[in-house]
């Protein structure tokens, strides 16, 4: 039996026939991944709260289909299946709709191929890399300044700054671009200036190596306070420090 955590409050059940014991409220997705079994996901990100947007992580629990990223395991005796004909059909249906919207995303096309899905000519619309998974919106809320958000609903839904303009509150931290699963969110860094979401930021230079490495808005956040050197230099200096302390003793 696979025991996930030395936690007192455990629940046990079966995942694809294998007995497991996990901490109560572990999501099905987390439990499945502990077993090194794969479930496809697009909107899920380890560092962000679940949102159940992409509907790709569908699995069955006690014969009922649910999004595994949002479903907490609470009762003993659960029986989870992560792969059967119904599940594959449901995931293929979701992928059909996604690839019709975003046929130019290599990641989506790879998933689609795995499920035997090809874009349908009759649904051909604007090829848009954004799948409305909301990872960027969640990342901006948690790591950034909640500068971007969704606007509209249904087919009209989009990610944007307020009033469909460049977001005033953006600090250029790139958290949104880092979590985007399809590469829709692009940025550029040229001549010490960073551009994203129609905004441009003069970057601060590392006082060790002189390379531009962050925006003033990023450095004004408490978690960055007093960091005047870039991540690479910081690691290099820490390693040198450690080496010195080892050789001294």
């Amino acid at each position: 039996m696979l025991n996930c955590q030395s936690h007192l409050d455990l629940v046990e059940g079966l995942i694809d026939g294998q007995a497991v014991e996990v901490a109560r409220d572990t999501t099905i997705l987390a439990a499945v991944r502990l077993l090194n079994r794969s479930v496809p996901t697009l909107c899920h990100h380890e560092g962000l709260p679940g949102d159940g947007n992409c509907r790709l992580c569908l699995v069955e629990i006690n014969g009922r289909m649910v999004t595994s990223c949002m479903y907490p395991l609470r009762e003993n005796g659960f029986v989870v299946e992560t792969d059967n004909e119904d599940i594959r059909r449901a995931r293929a249906f979701v992928l059909e709709m996604l690839v019709d919207r975003c046929p130019s995303s290599p990641r989506l096309m790879a998933l689609a191929a795995e499920y035997g899905v090809t874009p349908e000519e009759r649904f051909k619309g604007d090829d848009d890399l954004c799948i409305r998974c909301g990872r960027c919106v969640r990342a901006c809320e948690i790591n950034g300044t909640a500068a971007i958000g969704f606007a509209g609903r249904g087919a009209e839904r989009s990610v944007t700054g307020p009033f469909f303009t460049a977001p005033d509150d953006c600090i250029g931290c790139l958290a949104c671009a880092a979590v985007c699963p399809t590469g829709k969110i692009v940025f550029s860094e040229k001549h010490g200036r960073r551009s994203i979401w129609g905004r441009e930021f003069e970057m601060v230079r590392c006082c060790e190596c002189g390379r531009p490495y962050a925006t003033p808005g990023q450095l004004s956040r408490p978690e960055f306070a007093a960091n005047e050197i870039c991540a690479q230099c910081r690691r290099r200096l820490m390693a040198a420090d450690m080496k010195r302390s080892f050789t001294e003793y």
């Binding site: 300044t145 958000g149 969704f150 606007a151 509209g152 609903r153 700054g161 307020p162 009033f163 509150d169």
Partner: protein
């Protein structure tokens, strides 16, 4: 005191007051002015992006001024079968605007809705708060005259 300030004061500064406040502002101005959304975000201590997301999500809220009277034509299955499309065409002609637009004098806005839940009365049209059932396509003028 300006009316926006009055509206903001009428509710406690809690995040859950977002939608009620936006509804009050919509009812007063017949749209959500940008400065009002900014003021709501500040008062409720919510990111402007969240306020904007809610403001654009509900079709009862609008970023552009709506007419004094909003004419909503039901385009549900039953209404569609019983001629809502012809009805829209004649209302468009009568008002001189396209579906979704507002007359230049600000008197009327023409909208379609997916279902008003009165399929037995199809086709159904709402003129302001009044609901009209079994509306013949030829009655567009009559329908608008009723509220003038």
């Amino acid at each position: 005191m300006n009316p926006l300030e009055d509206l903001l004061q009428s509710r406690p500064g809690e995040a859950r007051q977002l939608l009620p406040l936006l509804q009050l502002i919509q009812a007063h101005y017949r749209y959500l002015p940008e400065e009002a959304l900014r003021a709501v975000a500040e008062k409720l201590e919510l990111p402007l992006s969240r306020v904007f997301a809610v403001a654009t999500f509900y079709s009862a809220l609008s970023l552009r001024p709506k007419g004094e009277t909003v004419v909503k034509v039901c385009c549900g299955t039953a209404c569609h079968l019983r001629g809502s499309e012809t009805l829209i065409a004649s209302l468009e002609k009568e008002l001189g605007i396209k579906l979704g637009e507002t007359t230049p004098d600000g008197s009327h806005t023409l909208e379609s809705v997916n279902c008003l839940g009165a399929c037995a009365l199809a086709p159904v049209v709402m003129v302001g708060d009044e609901t009209h059932g079994n509306v013949p396509a030829a009655s567009a003028r009559h329908l608008l005259g009723k509220v003038k």
